[in-house]
């Protein structure tokens, strides 16, 4: 019989372990700050259960993230967890925390512009400040970039190309 406080301690340790897991593409960003980590529970059978949600349908990082969570929980001495992929509610860039947005900017990736995902189908591009120099004189090179969640932009002020985390 596990007492309630033991369960609480186990759960706290599991949450701490999950909080240390980072996005394999953007190692300065934790999956918690990215909004991909949805829930950490202690199952009735004492097994840790973790829910994650994909940013994009085809995000190939989900498998790596699930493996990293398993490794982190096991390394914390908490056994092999059950990691599930949940689709509802659908992930949105609004779930990226302020710390996550700052981590993106420090990594040279412009964070998503809130509300920009709902713009007209064919209209003006959103205003994306350069993550390096902060200038707003920027232009889109391609809707698609190095990963499914990023677009390719260029700053006209500092002349540097940069990734833009697409708004969803």
């Amino acid at each position: 019989m596990v007492s309630l406080s033991d369960r609480d301690r186990t759960l706290a340790a599991a949450r701490a372990a999950c909080a240390r897991v980072v996005d394999p593409e953007i190692p300065t960003l934790s999956i918690a700050d990215l909004g991909v980590l949805r829930d950490v529970r202690l199952g009735a059978d004492g097994v840790i259960e973790v829910d994650i949600t994909p940013t994009y349908s085809g995000c190939p990082a989900m498998r790596a993230i699930a493996l990293d969570i398993e490794a982190a929980i096991e390394a914390a001495g908490l056994g092999r967890p059950r990691v599930s992929l949940v689709l509802t509610p659908a992930w949105t860039t609004d779930w990226i925390t302020p710390a996550g947005r700052e981590a993106l900017r420090r990594a040279g990736i412009a964070p998503p512009t809130p509300g920009a995902g709902r713009r007209a189908l064919f209209g003006a591009d959103e205003l994306v400040p350069c993550p390096r120099c902060g200038a707003t004189d920027t232009e889109k090179l391609s809707e698609f970039g190095s990963t499914a969640c990023k677009a390719l932009w260029r700053c006209r002020a500092c002349r540097e190309p940069f990734d833009y985390f697409k708004c969803h």
Partner: protein
Amino acid sequence: MTTIAVAETPLTLGLLRLADTALVHSHRLSEWCGHAPMLEEDLALANIALDLLGQARALYTHAAAVEGAGRTEDDLAYRRDAPQFRNVLMAELPRGDFAFTILRGFLLAAHALPFWQATAGSRDATLAAIAAKAEKEAAYHVRHCGEWVIRLGDGTGESRRRMLEALDTLWPFTGELFEVDDADRAVIADGILPDPAVVRAPWDATIDRVFAEAGLDRPAEGWMQSGGRWGRHTEHLGHLLAVMQHLPRAYPDATW
């Protein structure tokens, strides 16, 4: 490796039609990897292929769960032969040139966007969740392909000639996107999939707007190709599956 036959109910059939169209189109787009006219376009086509592959995986996983026969997404993708595939014919046509690829992407995405928007309100919670993601991805695909349709249609003599040729070939394949059979009617009545009639007006608006800017005349609604959604395919699908399914069929025990 033995071929499987999925027990087709209106729901599993509806899911396979969506999943197969996404997977087969994704495969055609992936054939551009390393061959696109410029780096940005190589990335874009591979990204669109990846989005569609992700949608197909989620739809296959759901179809397998609904079927309840213990199958996986891989069984459905790799262990059915061409006559069991339910994709629309447009998706399986050979890669073609860049104009053909872009126009096909535009026609399918212009349909997918309002289709997924409507499906986000499905009474099937899993399908609604898949739709909520797919809708956002489709918006990028429409925008990207639409801008290229305009650039090529209203571009040089050569780009325009190729775009007109692609339009001639592809237009008779658009009718399949709006077909309704008894299986469709059953899932529409249950509030699981949207009535294609709901998708028609936004599709018309997108097509007309982009064609007007591209200087393309919308072809008349004449005779339309049909058959893919019942497993009657062009000769091209078998060749595509031979490439796509070769490894898991030759080495059924292989794991990544």
